[in-house]
Symmetry: C2
Subunit: 120 residues, 2 copies
């Protein structure tokens, strides 16, 4: 049983909007992701999604408003809620907690920002 050093894992990749799995437990996954600019509007019908900011600044937009998060801020986006993450200060990186198998673009049409999470 070996610890995973999160800063080292985060430093091991540079691509944005391509979540990497760093831990799995209880049917959930912990992922790391780098963000740049604006993502697509989407929702996850069956999954609450937790964002924990590790680097930079993230604006989470909702249809009726937005919140800005800095390093150390955590936010749960409930299932079914449309949201759009926007990196507001870069480099921007987050830790995600969500159920196994969540696709980053949710219910939005698959596109160039759609990436299956890989384990690192």
């Amino acid at each position: 049983m070996h610890p995973t050093h999160i800063p080292t894992k985060l430093a091991s990749f540079s691509e944005c909007w391509s979540p990497k799995i760093v831990a799995s437990l209880n049917g959930q996954e912990v992922k790391l992701a780098r963000l740049s600019g604006a993502f697509v509007w989407h929702k996850h019908d069956e999954a609450d999604e937790l964002f924990y900011v590790l680097e930079g600044r993230l604006r989470m937009e909702f249809r009726d408003g937005s919140v800005v998060m800095g390093v150390g801020d955590m936010l749960v986006v409930p299932r079914g809620v449309e949201h759009r993450p926007v990196a507001q200060a870069e480099p921007c990186a987050v830790m995600l907690f969500e159920p196994v198998g969540v696709v980053n673009t949710g219910d939005a049409p698959r596109g160039e920002l759609t990436n299956e999470a890989e384990r690192i």
Copy 2:
């Protein structure tokens, strides 16, 4: 929907071995806990438990060895595995990710270190 600033939450309490819930999602909870000295040997038969070190240094003892974790290290202790957290450099604090309702002392007899998690 408001972000939770984890360092502020962590600074809001000082008691050790008394996990505080800071987020809930998908039947899971994110908790913060301060550690001091050695905890009790225990296991969780139905829950994998994630430890993410926020402050200090934590030694996780198993029946057949141990690992030492510093800030930024993450470890999943699988269900059924006996473990004993020991704060090795204090103040020591961790973020936990585990199913709703996990009791900190697991299968060990309830004692003075047993604490129900409260939401902060």
